[in-house]
Each structure stands twice: as structure tokens, then as C-alpha cells.
């Protein structure tokens, strides 16, 4: 059997079918690997126990031929997703020891598909950050260079996939939290169209932006996982009915005649020279594969980050109001009720959630609402229109996922410079579009990500472009 660190979902399926290993054997081997290597990386916050086969969705006696698409596939799950009975902290002290009491819809779907859960992966507290340094449980390290961040907020999932400590993982993406760590760790990360995947059971950061998506070793696996994750859900009223498609079906289709847009705003100031070079090489490969590439403008790009920070903070200040120390999680009893709230929240939340709650509450407050929140919602419309204009003439937009490669742990001291690492990913969330980051070479010896953005519901197309590039 090949090194289990390199196993893809397809390999696992074949290995089980050919009886090279059983579901249970594979699970135990991964748990042993995590036990040996997780201390270096801190990718996992919680690891399931070898003797506890309760996390196996299906019986060990798997049938010779099974139509469960993820039978026996060992996954890492970002720790802001509820798995019934499993501790779910969202990287925050305020949820220390909190045990989820139900499954997120994506978890139910994965269980039905036969997947195996290895454990919960590290993240910036409540997914607020771009480096996983904001976790209450310590930073995760980048497997390519242990002095560097894995990106974030899904940094634990990205590091676990890149280091081979799982076959694939789930992340969530509010402003780039799947794609940016995927780029930093040299793996594939897909943020689906807003409304494609149910958010039920995801601990909300910003409800109008959050999406759950796959983080995988290759594009095929991302397509396979998306097949399982997608679909309308009565538990999430923002999911949308779509015809069911097999996202793996058109991966191999030719790119001949594909119309590709390169936004000038994504290749300007702040973009690292070597990252630029790697991305342009990938784009010239697209041309060799038969695509027509043209430059375009997305004129409101420079407003995306300020819009994002107002809307995301406003939404999270409201979403995080539920963590009050009364019903679950961390609680510190004060002199009276107000004092209990104040002490529980002050001690329970870290710096970044506190900063965003304050900013969001301010942006929503009477007297400032028009100037900040309402204005940001209008500029959000303009950013969406920029994309709609481009997609009238083009099939996909390509560019770098991030302006630089993975930065050093502790390098970004002020929050604003950290926010800038999401400059190419944030506009996509504001417009609700699907986008994938795939590895495209190296800069300074570190992985570079290429971002492929599609119009709404065009996951099939961006996966096809990613697959063709990956095959080379």
C-alpha cells in the first residue's frame, strides 16, 4: 500500500474495494499518525480515540461493493462545525468543553456517505483571522515551514491535509478562510456559491457571507466532496434549490474556447513579484490549453475590504451575542446579572472577537448606521455588479489567491496588515460567488495559489478549469 499520507479519496475507495485495507484499519493508522505528528503542527484540537468506533458512520463490515461515495474516507473537521457529542469550541475559550448536541447538516450528509471523522481542526477564534494565530488553543504551523503560519481561518484543516494527517477536510470561508490557507499550504480549497451548502450547525461568523467547503489534495476530490455537501436544506433558509449535478462529470472536458478574465486590480500594488510570476505562468498554460485570456477591470475592488470589515463585524457582533455564559460554555459568576455577562464575555472572548464586536456594534448604532452599515451594503451591490459585468463576456476570472506566500508566525502585528492578506478573496464572498484555489508553483520555496472565480452556480466550470490545469 502507498504511503497513507498521499492517499486521495479515490485511492481510499479503490483500496477498500480491492480489500487492501478495511475502514477500521485505515482509521487506526491515521489516528496513530496524528498521535505521532500533531504535536509539531497543532493542526488538530481534538482527536477521536482508536477504541471509539462510534465515529464510524458505518459498520466495519463494509460490503464488497458499496455505493457510499465516501466510505471509510478519514476526514478532519474544522472545529466550528457541530458533530453531535463531540467537543466544539470554535477555537474560543468561551466554548471550552462545549459538547455539540446535534450534527451540522454537512456532518449528517458525510455520515450518510460513509465518511470517518478523525477529529476537529484548529482555527482562528470563531473563524476571525487569516493565520490561525487567533486560536485560544495555540497557533497551527505550516507543514512547508514550521516558522510560518498555515493561513486561516481554516489553518488546522489546511495543515492537516497538506501534512497528510487526513485524506481531506472541511473548512468554512467568510472572506477567504478556505482559499487563503489552501494557497499557503499548497492544497485545493473550494468556496461554493452562497446558498449551495447548508450552514446549519456551522457556528456563524457572518451569516450573509459564510459558506462551508472542501479542502483536498486534488481537484477531483474537491468535486467528489462537493457532490456530498451540496443541496437545499430545510434547516437553512438561505440554501437554494438547484438541479443535482455530478461535479466530477465534466472535469476532463477541454478548455478550448474558454473565455478567461484577468482583473487588473488583482495584479497591482502589494502583489509579490514571484507570486505574480507563478500565477502568470499558470495563466499562459491556460492559453496553451485553448483558453482566450483578456484583461478586465473590477473597479470597486479597493472598497471590498472596508465593506467586508463593516458588514462582517456588524453580523458577527449580532451572532456572537448568544455567547453570554448563561446557557452553555464558559461562565464566570459576577455580583449581579450584568456583571456575570460582562465577566463571562470579557474573559471568554479573545482580542479579535472583542475588537470586531465593538466595531460591529458601533457600525450598527443609531447615528452611525447610515454612514457605515447602510453605505457598506450599497457598495456591496456595486462590487457584485462589477463581477456581473465581467461574467457577461467571460466564463471565469483568474488571479492570485493571496498577494504573498505564507508569512512568519508573529509577523503581522497590527490587525489591518493581517486583513490585507484577504484582498483577493473577500470580494468573492461579498458577491456570493464560487471560487477555488489550486496550487500553482512556488515563490520563495513556498506554495502559491491560483484563484479561479466563476459566476453563481458555476462550480462545475471552475472545477473543470482547475482540473485541466492540475493535469498540466
Amino acid at each position: 500500500m502507498m504511503n497513507i499520507k498521499d492517499l486521495t479519496i479515490k485511492d481510499v475507495r479503490e483500496g477498500i474495494e480491492k480489500k487492501e485495507f478495511t475502514v477500521e484499519e485505515l482509521r487506526r493508522r491515521f489516528l496513530k499518525l496524528i498521535e505521532e505528528e500533531n504535536d509539531n503542527l497543532n493542526a488538530y484540537l481534538l482527536v477521536t480515540k482508536p477504541e471509539d468506533s462510534g465515529w464510524l458512520a458505518t459498520s466495519n463490515q463494509q460490503p464488497a461493493t458499496s455505493n457510499q461515495p465516501l466510505l471509510g474516507v478519514p476526514l478532519g473537521i474544522k472545529d466550528n462545525l457541530c458533530v453531535e457529542g463531540m467537543v466544539t469550541t470554535a477555537g474560543s475559550k468561551i466554548l471550552k468543553n462545549y459538547q455539540a448536541v446535534y450534527d451540522a447538516t454537512v456532518i449528517t450528509k458525510l455520515k450518510e456517505a460513509g465518511a470517518v471523522f478523525l477529529g476537529k481542526t484548529n482555527l482562528d477564534e470563531f473563524a476571525m483571522g487569516s493565520s490561525t494565530e487567533n486560536s485560544a488553543w495555540g497557533v497551527t504551523k505550516n507543514p512547508h515551514d514550521l516558522t510560518r503560519v498555515p493561513g486561516g481561518s481554516s489553518g488546522g484543516s489546511a495543515a492537516a491535509v497538506a501534512a497528510g494527517l487526513c485524506v481531506a477536510a472541511l473548512g468554512s470561508d467568510t472572506g477567504g478562510s478556505i482559499r487563503q490557507p489552501a494557497a499557503f499550504c499548497g492544497i485545493v480549497g473550494l468556496k461554493p456559491t452562497y446558498g449551495r451548502v447548508s450552514r446549519f450547525g456551522l457556528l456563524a461568523l457572518a451569516s450573509s457571507l459564510d459558506q462551508i467547503g472542501p479542502m483536498t489534495k486534488n481537484v477531483y476530490d474537491a468535486a467528489l466532496l462537493l457532490n456530498v455537501l451540496s443541496g437545499w436544506d430545510k434547516m437553512d433558509s438561505t440554501t437554494v434549490h438547484q438541479t443535482e449535478v455530478d461535479f466530477t462529470a465534466k472535469l476532463e472536458d477541454s478548455l478550448k474556447g474558454l473565455r478567461v478574465a484577468m482583473p487588473r486590480e488583482y495584479f497591482g500594488e502589494g502583489l509579490d513579484g514571484e507570486v505574480n510570476q507563478a500565477v502568470e505562468q499558470a495563466i499562459s498554460r491556460l492559453e496553451k490549453l485553448g483558453a482566450h485570456v483578456d484583461q478586465v477591470n473590477l473597479p470597486h475592488t479597493k472598497y471590498a475590504l472596508p465593506v467586508y470589515y463593516i458588514l462582517m463585524s456588524a453580523e458577527c457582533s449580532s451572532n456572537l451575542a448568544r455567547y453570554d455564559g448563561m446557557r452553555y460554555g464558559f461562565s464566570k459568576t459576577g455580583e449581579d446579572l450584568l456583571d456575570t455577562y460582562l465577566q463571562s464575555r470579557s474573559e471568554g472572548f479573545g482580542d479579535e472577537p472583542r475588537r470586531r464586536i465593538i466595531l460591529g456594534t458601533y457600525a450598527l448604532s443609531s447615528g452611525y448606521y447610515e454612514a457605515y452599515y447602510s453605505r457598506a451594503q450599497k457598495v456591496r451591490t456595486l462590487i457584485t455588479r462589477d463581477f456581473e459585468e465581467v461574467f457577461k463576456k467571460f466564463d471565469v476570472i483568474v488571479g492570485p489567491t493571496t498577494p504573498t506566500t505564507a508569512f512568519k508566525i508573529g509577523e503581522k502585528k497590527d490587525p489591518l496588515s493581517m486583513y490585507l492578506s484577504d484582498i483577493y478573496t473577500v470580494p468573492v464572498n461579498l458577491a456570493g460567488l464560487p471560487a477555488i484555489s489550486i496550487p500553482c508553483g512556488q515563490a520563495q520555496g513556498l506554495p502559491v495559489g491560483l484563484q479561479i472565480i466563476g459566476p453563481k452556480w458555476a462550480e462545475e466550470k471552475i472545477l473543470q478549469v482547475g482540473y485541466n490545469l492540475e493535469q498540466g
Binding site: 459538547q99 452562497y194 472596508p306 448563561m326 461562565s331 459576577g334 457605515y372 453605505r375 489591518l416
Partner: protein
């Protein structure tokens, strides 16, 4: 500092622009008001077990009204 940064939005003309309220454009989505419509009723007991303080099946908090 962050407030200065977001203040650059003031330069964008938005008089004729409608705000975006929703990520997917769905609105007024309703479901039937029925018992158990949202899943597992066993949840309540497990949820209550995690409350920091409780009394006879209720969550106990400090007094809300002063005497």
C-alpha cells in the same frame, strides 16, 4: 485606525444604489409551524445538561429585577 480605513467608503457615490440584504437573494422563506419540525427533541435535555447553573429543569441565572 480601522475606522479611518473603512471611512474611505464615503467617497463612493451610492445615491442610486440598492443595498444588498442577502447572500443568495432568498427572502421570506417560511416553513410549517409544527412540533418537531426542526429535528431532534432529545436535544433539550442534553442542552440543559451544559448550563452552568440549573434548577428543576430550568437554567438558573442571577436576579433580573431588583427588589
Amino acid at each position: 485606525m480601522i475606522l479611518d480605513y473603512v471611512a474611505q467608503l464615503k467617497e463612493v457615490p451610492v445615491e442610486q444604489v440598492a443595498p444588498t440584504f442577502s447572500g443568495s437573494g432568498t427572502a421570506n422563506v417560511m416553513r410549517k409551524d409544527e412540533e418537531g419540525g426542526l429535528g431532534n427533541p432529545v436535544c433539550a435535555k442534553q442542552m440543559l445538561e451544559q448550563a452552568p447553573a440549573k434548577h428543576r429543569g430550568f437554567i438558573k441565572v442571577k436576579a433580573i429585577l431588583k427588589k
